[in-house]
Structures are given as structure tokens and as C-alpha cells.
Symmetry: C2
Subunit: 311 residues, 2 copies
């Protein structure tokens, strides 16, 4: 059987191999997806983001277990910020999810950047699509922090859960600045700690500033390690899903995300093309030398390359 057939028939080893292709941005993954494109779009994608230490992994694990109890199948993609130089993701967090690894209804994979501009975002999209074709009901995209690239990735989800915790103090400011806006549902984890109410008030205040939105993100208090509040959080995710569907927002979100992905795909390919280019009378390295020696400015060099591409 071909990889394609094995993927559709539910062969986990085929999925695992394709996920590795996805992570390496190997064209084999997209070739398989191409032939099965009509099988995409069935899974519901949930993004889990928030500052380091908020307990996102634990929460993802508990949500997964709750959904498993309802008979749903799950894919988890853990997006790790790794070095732009060496690649390779080492995160202690993952160990906490270990018990899920033995459940055949759950597929977990960590993804690092592999030093490629935009590569992590592309790899994640491919991975989501593979899990979707494989037939997973829910796919979690979980980030390690709230950096811009992580935010860009997580906002391709259908529902974004922003995980906060009490006592973030002044740092909430930094997180507030824009990034919190992508939250569709808020979870205050470790809600048994002092300051949970204050955190809730701060989130409410921030949401008040954004009153023009049709959807007011609900806030759920949870204690993931104790499995407290998980059902409430799941209900809130479900009500966001209902809203997206009834309002038509789900379709327009997916349209917007598809557009962004398409543009990135093309842009990545153009970039690869430029970097390989050397047969049309110039190399990028030659131009770089000229820029550094002030023989040419960088903007004129960019014009130069553009005009060669069009030839």
C-alpha cells in the first residue's frame, strides 16, 4: 500500500512518517496531501497559548483526556521555539504528557524551527492537515510561549485558548499588548493560587476595551493538575465553536488563514529560488559583497534581483 492509502486507512506508522516529512518540510508530505485534499477540513483545531509556566501542556493533556472520555480522537502538535541555528527541541514539559503517549487515540508530536524562515509555520500547517486527513476529531496546537511567530501559528486555529495564571503581575502588560487579543476563550490556570480573582478582573478590563467584537471571550478558572474546571473550559470552547458556525465566522476565518498560507507558500518558494539562483549572471552573495563594501545600496540590490526574477 502507498503511504497515501495507509494514511487514510488509519495506519499510525504511516502518519508518524508523514509527520516527520512535514517537520522537515519534505515535499513528500505535501504530495500525499494533494491527493487527499478533499478529506481535509473535518477536524476542529484548538490553539493553546500563553506565557511560559502557565501550565499549557498539563491543560492540553487534561482537555485531551476529557475528549477521549467522549470517544473523540486527538492530535497534539507542540510548537517549540528552538534555535535558528541548531534546531532540535528539548522541553521538559513534554514529559508530563507521557501517559497520553500510550493511548492509540492520541497522536503527539513536537515541532521545532529547524532554522528555516517561516519553516515552523509551514510545517505546522502540513502537520495539521495530515492529522485532519487521518481522521482526528480535534487537533491541538500548543505553543511554548507567546512570541510573535508562535502567535502567528496559533491564530490559524479555529478556537484559541489563552492560558493565564495568577500573579503574572507587571508581565501581564507585555502579554496584554496585542497578543491577548487572539484569545477566543481564556483559561486562568492554577486558579487555586492567590490573585486568581485579580487576574480575572484584569482580563475582563482588557476585554472591555474591545467591546465592538461580536464574540465576548469567556473566562474559565481551572486547576489543570487537579482536573478542576476542565469540563467548564470544554463547554466554553464548544460554545465558541457554535458561535463560529452560526455566525459564518468559521468559514471566513478559514478563508483568511488559507490566504495567508498561500501567500507564505509562494513567498517561501520565491526565496528558495533566489538563494539557489546563480546562472543568470549574478549570485546573491556577489550582491551582498557589493552592499557591504558600499558599492551598492541594499534597496537597489533588491530591485536588481526582482528584475532578474521577472526575466
Amino acid at each position: 500500500m502507498s503511504l497515501q492509502e495507509r494514511l487514510v486507512s488509519g495506519d499510525v506508522r504511516a502518519l508518524a512518517r508523514l509527520m516527520t516529512y512535514a517537520e522537515n518540510n519534505d515535499p513528500e508530505a505535501t504530495r500525499v496531501i494533494k491527493g487527499l485534499y478533499d478529506k481535509t477540513g473535518g477536524a476542529y483545531v484548538i490553539g493553546i497559548t500563553g506565557p511560559p509556566g502557565a501550565g499549557k501542556s498539563t491543560l492540553t493533556g487534561k482537555l485531551t483526556k476529557a475528549l477521549r472520555d467522549c470517544g473523540k480522537t486527538i492530535g497534539i502538535i507542540a510548537v517549540d521555539p528552538t534555535s535558528p541555528f541548531t534546531g532540535g527541541a528539548i522541553l521538559g514539559d513534554r514529559i508530563r504528557m507521557q501517559d497520553l503517549f500510550t493511548d492509540p487515540g492520541v497522536f503527539i508530536r513536537s515541532m521545532g524551527t529547524r532554522g528555516h524562515l517561516g519553516g515552523l509555520s509551514r510545517a505546522t500547517q502540513t502537520a495539521v492537515r495530515l492529522l485532519d486527513i487521518f481522521g482526528k476529531d480535534y487537533i491541538f496546537i500548543e505553543t511554548v510561549g507567546v512570541g510573535q511567530s508562535e502567535v502567528d501559528i496559533v491564530k490559524t486555529a479555529d478556537t484559541v485558548v489563552m492560558v493565564m495564571m495568577p500573579g503574572l503581575g507587571d508581565d501581564i502588560q507585555a502579554i496584554k499588548a496585542g497578543i491577548m487579543e487572539i484569545g477566543d476563550v481564556f483559561a486562568i490556570n492554577k486558579a487555586d493560587l492567590d490573585g486568581a480573582d485579580r487576574t480575572k478582573i484584569e482580563i475582563e478590563m482588557m476585554l472591555d476595551l474591545n467591546e465592538n467584537k461580536e464574540w465576548r471571550p469567556p473566562i474559565s478558572k481551572v486547576v489543570a493538575v487537579d482536573n478542576f474546571g476542565i469540563d467548564d473550559l470544554l463547554e466554553k470552547i464548544q460554545s465558541h465553536r457554535d458561535y463560529l458556525q452560526s455566525s459564518g465566522e468559521l468559514a471566513s476565518r478559514r478563508l483568511r488563514n488559507t490566504k495567508q498560507e498561500l501567500v507564505s507558500l509562494v513567498s517561501d518558494r520565491v526565496m528558495e529560488f533566489i538563494l539557489k539562483k546563480s546562472d543568470k549572471g549574478f549570485t546573491v552573495d556577489d550582491l551582498v559583497e557589493r552592499i557591504v563594501s558600499k558599492d551598492m545600496d541594499i534597496y537597489t540590490a533588491a530591485d536588481e534581483i526582482l528584475s532578474r526574477i521577472k526575466e
Copy 2:
């Protein structure tokens, strides 16, 4: 006088206006730089990065004051992670730098993303170049957090100072994973708090893993609010600068950064071109509709656009 002439003659209002152009990625900024490209490369660029709450703003402020006491002029670019949707950076931190705003030898500007892919990186590069042409001796690029896009921006600096603090605990793991590798000099701020020695040991251990490097990043303990250790940190930055110059690494860093910037510039322009394109028998929106309705897969659509670009 033209903006160009005013910039070179040290007119701060011309600089301020051009920095706004830079922030908006207005081509007027690059037009001015084009004509003055031979005046670039004189400033020394220092990146200040680290997790939220480490006191990066305060530290940047103290370093600035120390350099001002030596008669140096300074530019500060504060890179803020703002919403991909609304733009606009609000950060309480900045207020702490207020006393520097009155010093004519210091120019400070915050930069947000303005919702444009790669836009913040491009805007920051343009801003650095303007401050450089203006004649600033040192330029600080300070980030709010350690997200991937912030790391990508800050590693264009000549010397990257990674600001840590005691008690990061488990979270140091997440920061360790790759991102710490970009630090040329480490500063443990708030070194009067418990755990500073442990943090130092953890950083040393992490550096031990990277023994093959020619430059071993030194670690400086500082208490920025008390102005403690600032001179020591400045000396360590200076010794890194000496190393870069004597080893030829400065030239190769700048070469590498120029290459990356050139490729991004071209890629951005291609992306703009794609999004505007509608006269050659297709629009991106048409293709997106077809993808979403499963009439075409996204990879075939990307091929379609690429072949049209080459026409």
C-alpha cells in the same frame, strides 16, 4: 533643505519624521537612506533581549547613561510585540525611560508590528540605518520578550546581551532551548535577589555545552535599578566588540545579516506583488475560494501563482 540634508546635519525633527516613515515601511525612508548609504556602518549596534520582567528597559537606560557620561550618543529602538490586527504599542516599561527623553544625545523610539508579515523586522533595520546615518555612536535594539521574531530581529545586532534574572526556575528551560545561544554577553539582573548564583551556574552549564565556539560569552551580575555592575557589563560588551573586530567576525556577521535582509526585502516585495495582482487572469482571492471549496489544493494554487509571476 531636503530631509536627506537635514538628517545628515543632525536635525532631530527630520530624524523623528524619518523614523515614523521607517515604522510605517514608507518608501520615503529607504529613498533617503539610498542616497546616504556610504554613511552607514559607523554605529555599534547592541541587542538587549531576555524574558519579560528581567528588567531590560531599566538596564538599557543605565547603559545609555553610562555611555552618555563618556560623551557617546545613543539611539534606542524598543521592539514591542503588538497585535497582528490592530497595531499600536502600549508598554508601561517605556515610562521608566522617561528621564532619557529629555537628553538631546539620546533618541528613543518604540516600534510595533502594524500587522505586516516581516514588517517589524524591516522597519527596525530601516530605523537602525537612519540612526546610524544620523551619527549615533551606539544603537540599542531592545525587545520585550524572547519570541522567535524578536530573536530574529535582535540577532542582527553586533553584540547581543541576554538579560536573565534569578528565580526563573523551570522557565529557564524554555528560554534555554536555543534562544540563549544568541547571547554574546549575559547579564544577570536583579543579582541581589536569592538564586543569582544558581542562575549563573545554570548559564555556565549551558555555555559548557557549546564549547566549540571561539567566543565564550561572559556573565555579568548587575542590579540595574541601583546602577550596580553597569561598568562591568559595558566592559564585557567592549571586549566582545574587540573580539569581533580582531577575529574578522564583525565583517562576517554583517555579511550574513545583509544577506538575510536582502532576501527578506525581495520576498516582501514579491508578496506585495502577489497580493496586488489581479490583471493577469487571476486574483489570489479567487484561488483562495477554490482552495476552501476543495476545487483545488493549496499547493497546486501556489504553483499556479509562481508560474504567473514568471510570465
